[in-house]
């Protein structure tokens, strides 16, 4: 009898948490993603930081999942735009890079991670365009190309490319004439794109709406 009890307890102790954890993972992720989706451009850095922390906590438990790392990295890119000065922006982007690296180790050759890599490079460039375009311009482009080649159906590389072109003046090869075809491609891909799971990345559609409005 004693053996049975010990067995019972030990099974309880091992199996139950695994189940619970998996559910807990989904629940925690959906909650954090939900928080992220309610954010707008006006969201304070403190609120974004709280969400980044949330993903970091999940990542520290779920050491085999790349998604918590991915989202943490993404939130730090958003934080990168809020930084007061160059040093502060770079500090956030250093965090984004660290999460990207950890995620890449878990999921090599992932299209969404290639998008994140391009996004980080673009943000780095925006910090000090005059001096950084040479270093980060090609890096951003390489990430976009890689994402496209890994998954032709993914609209997000087109979102990044089109957005960047839209904010580039015409004499530099940007502006609506070059940006709009790319943004339209993105919009088209959104109509058929199905995220791999409820937790998978699915952002970008809202972001390009105001830009597409300029394309008529």
């Amino acid at each position: 009898m004693k053996t049975l009890v010990i067995l019972l307890i030990s099974t309880l102790g091992t199996v139950a948490p695994v189940w619970a954890q998996s559910d807990q993972y989904k629940q925690a992720m959906s909650q954090a993603i939900g928080n992220l989706q309610t954010q707008t451009l006006q969201t304070s850095a403190a609120d974004l930081q709280a969400i980044a922390n949330q993903f970091e906590r999940i990542a520290s438990v779920e050491t085999k999942e790349w998604l918590p790392r991915y989202y943490a990295g993404l939130v730090y890119v958003y934080l990168g735009f809020t930084g007061k000065d160059e040093a502060a922006k770079d500090k956030y982007l250093d965090q984004a890079d660290a999460h990207l690296k950890a995620a890449e180790a878990l999921a090599p050759d992932n299209d969404e991670l290639a998008v994140l890599k391009a996004y980080i490079a673009q943000s780095r460039m925006v910090v000090d365009p005059m001096n950084r375009w040479q270093q980060y311009g090609p890096l951003a482009q390489a990430g976009i190309e890689k994402a496209k080649s890994l998954n032709a159906a993914n609209p997000r590389p087109y979102v990044l490319e089109g957005t960047s072109l839209m904010y580039t003046p015409e004499q530099f090869g940007g502006g609506p004439t070059t940006a709009c075809p790319v943004l339209k491609q993105a919009a088209e891909k959104f109509t058929t794109f199905k995220p791999a799971s409820d937790l998978s990345p699915n952002w970008g559609q809202k972001q390009i709406e105001p830009l597409l409005a300029k394309c008529k």
Partner: protein, 721 residues
């Protein structure tokens, strides 16, 4: 049976009820609240964020013990084992992590332009966009504090040093012929394009034990790891036309850059009046190839090779000849190749840097139809192993060796020498906290041509005096093998020596930089020549007198750098001032005097502005150099006369556009807008009755050109200029 149910029930109920509330505050070392810190228990979902007062609270179902983790951007992570029984509030103090802002960096004697380091005073783009630099690295360095502009000679003249005392180093390798071959009284440009390099570090003294054979300065250039463009590019300007091709493979494992150019200065010379009597307008052609390969995740192999050929002829002012002019003709061919391999192991804790280079340069030169040909050949290897230790500490050791062969013909007499040179060096960097850093180095060298050893200690340290400011100090001994022209005739000479002491203060805050540096340099064992004749001011004379190492000298002074990219929106300007006081007893000097390459005061004012609406970058540079000593045979005091002040206002503009979707860059520059008739030095006829002024190649001059990238992929950002 009963006890079993009881036990299981107890377990479940305790888990359900024993919810523990954890509260506390997260503070920095000074007790300020850190809002937004992440506080959680390791391996659980239990955690929370600190609020604006640094306070956190969360609950956990865990009983017994757990590890509390606290993380906050820019601070060291904190972890602590907790017994989860009582809920007394926790106070957690975090330690700030080391970063570029809060950690001292040794800066005495060095000026860096780097993309990788964020806290530098210059960026690589500055070299290309500065008016008056004409996209020449050396000319850009000549606008920095600590340099003297010497218009009629080639090279970098740093803090009282001659042009021979500064070495150019590419990827760790000394470049034997960094400049195009010099011709009488004309300054030559550097051979290398600024776009080849991702980082430039210009030392004005007190440099690392990793480098040697330069009494005053090293200019360290590091080549890029990747291509800047993709596809074919074409450039045309008043002096030359060139083609370039860049390609990176899809996997980013290897890339190739190739260039080829042909130049002829005829179009330029028909438009810009020349002060020089050209008998053969300079004509040149060249090609280069770069191949970069990543054989592994951490390894990087780079190969660079270039070949160039040029020819020119002039009648230069020569007061010692009866005609007052001497015909000079030159044909140069230059071949340079360098390969480097870098790798790292153990998560980057061990770094290897190794390289091999070979260069061959030959000048078929005639003065008045007499053969003055020369050639040089250099083979060298280098390996450096660095061990990175915690808290920014590091230790490195390395070696380099070279074989140099030099040949000169002087009016039919041939001279030749071989020098086998080897060096060993060690260097350690120690951080005593984040505010104090000490770098200690030792370098030992052997040169076979004089069969002598030397041992040179180097020391530099820096102390952080505030959030944005620091003081640095550097001391070092520097040795250089004497000028080869002395060694042809006398191999008993020993190394020339300079000792540097440098004190530096700098403050970098919010895109404004202020830096002041003061220095004392002592020269010893300088080569003196005894000809038994009066002083001969001819700069092309070949030294044939008796020589020894009894010379000496000093240089002392200070320089100031101020750069402001903030105060006036869009305007970036810098101001530098250098003061030097120097005297020497060397070469043919019979008494101690200030050498001819010293100008006491040098000022440069540089401004740049990007005009977004017309996508044009405009720059203005104004430089002033006080007069330099010149030899007047009629003067009783040796080198007491001074030339007039030299000043120059220059302008540059570049504009980006697209033609048929191809990126186009157009640029124009004007030098000496005020058309000042600057005089660099004076030369006298042998009877001392007539003097000739030596000035620039041309007074007011201008230059235009453009380039087009024949590839849709050639991407440029808004502020590419």
């Amino acid at each position: 049976m009963k006890p079993v149910y009881f036990l299981v029930g107890l377990l479940l109920s305790s888990a359900a009820t024993a919810q523990i509330k954890l509260t506390g505050r997260v503070l920095d070392q000074k007790g300020h609240a850190l809002p937004g810190a992440n506080v959680f228990l390791r391996g659980t979902y239990d955690g929370g964020n600190t609020d604006s007062t640094g306070t956190f609270q969360f609950t956990t179902l865990r009983s017994d013990t757990a590890t509390l983790l606290v993380s906050y951007i820019g601070y060291e992570s904190f972890s602590q084992k907790l017994t989860l029984d009582k809920s007394t509030p926790l106070i957690i103090r975090l330690q700030e992590a080391a970063n570029e802002l809060n950690t001292v960096v040794i800066t005495a004697g060095s000026f860096e332009a780097s993309d990788e380091k964020r806290m530098t005073m210059l960026k690589p783009m500055d070299i290309v966009t500065t008016a008056g630099a004409n996209a020449d690295i050396t000319a850009a360095m000549n606008l920095l504090p600590g340099t003297q502009r010497v218009g009629e000679q080639t090279g970098l003249f740093v803090r009282g040093g001659s042009g021979e005392e500064a070495k150019v180093v590419i990827d760790g390798m000394i470049v034997q012929n960094p400049y195009f071959s010099s011709m009488p009284d004309v300054q030559s440009r550097g051979r290398f394009q600024p776009f080849m390099f991702k980082g430039t570090s210009f030392s004005t003294g007190g440099y690392s034990a990793q480098y040697g054979q330069a009494l005053s300065s090293v200019l360290l250039l590091n080549t890029t790891d990747k291509t800047q463009n993709e596809g074919l590019g074409l450039s045309v300007n008043l002096a030359n036309t060139g083609l370039s091709y860049d390609h990176t493979d899809r996997a980013d494992k290897s890339s190739i850059s190739a260039t080829a150019y042909y130049g002829n200065l005829k179009p330029l010379f028909t438009l810009v009046r020349q002060n020089i009597d050209w008998t053969k307008v300079p004509e040149f052609a060249g090609t280069s190839l770069t191949h970069r390969l990543r054989p592994s995740k951490t390894g990087m192999l780079k190969f660079y090779g270039m070949y160039s050929a040029s020819q020119l002829g002039i009648n230069f002012i020569d007061p010692s000849s009866d005609a007052g002019k001497t015909a000079f003709n030159q044909q140069n061919t230059n071949f340079f190749t360098t390969s480097t391999y870098t790798d790292s192991w153990a998560d980057g804790r061990w770094l290897l840097y190794s390289g091999l280079s070979y260069s061959y340069d030959t000048d078929a030169t005639t003065f008045d139809a007499y053969d003055f040909g020369r050639s040089s050949e250099r083979l060298q290897g280098r390996a450096v192993l660095t061990r990175l230790l915690p808290r920014n500490n590091s230790f490195l050791f390395g070696t380099e060796a070279s074989r140099v062969t030099l040949r000169n013909t002087v009016m039919g007499t041939r001279y030749a020498l071989h020098d086998n040179y080897a060096a060993l060096f060690v260097e350690s960097q120690t951080y005593l906290g984040r505010n104090l850093a000490i770098q200690l180095g030792l370098r030992g060298e052997y040169s076979s041509v004089i069969d002598r050893f030397n041992l040179a200690p180097r020391l530099s340290m820096a102390y952080k005096t505030g959030l944005y400011s620091q003081v640095s100090l550097a001391y070092g001994q520097f040795y250089q093998t004497p000028d080869y022209r002395y060694l042809y005739l006398n191999r008993t000479l020993t190394y020339e020596r300079a000792d540097h002491l440098i004190l530096n203060y700098q403050i970098i805050r919010n895109k404004r930089t202020f830096r002041i540096e003061t220095f004392y340099k002592n020269y010893a064992e300088l080569v003196r020549e005894f000809t038994g004749q009066p002083y001969d001011a001819n700069p092309y004379r070949f030294p044939i007198g008796q020589t020894d190492n009894s010379g000496n000298g000093y240089a002392q002074g200070f320089d100031i750098f101020w750069r402001d990219q903030k105060t006036i929106n869009g305007l970036d300007y810098w101001v530098t001032y250098s003061y030097v006081d120097s005297k020497r007893l060397f070469q043919q000097f019979s008494v101690t005097a200030t050498p001819t390459f010293i100008s006491t005061h040098n000022i440069s004012l540089i401004g740049k502005r990007y005009f977004e609406k017309i996508s044009t970058n405009i720059g203005l540079t104004y430089t002033i150099s006080s007069g330099r000593p010149y030899y007047n045979p009629n003067s009783e005091t040796f080198l007491a006369d001074r030339t007039p002040m030299v000043n120059n206002l220059s302008f540059s503009a570049s504009h980006i556009t697209r033609i048929h979707k191809n990126l186009v860059v157009l640029y124009a520059s004007a030098d000496n807008i005020l058309n000042t008739h600057n005089v660099y030095t004076y030369r006298y006829t042998p009877d001392g009755k007539t003097r000739y002024a030596v000035g620039p190649q041309s007074y007011r001059s201008f230059f235009v050109g453009g380039m087009i990238m024949l590839s849709r992929k050639a991407k440029v950002n808004v502020k590419d200029l």
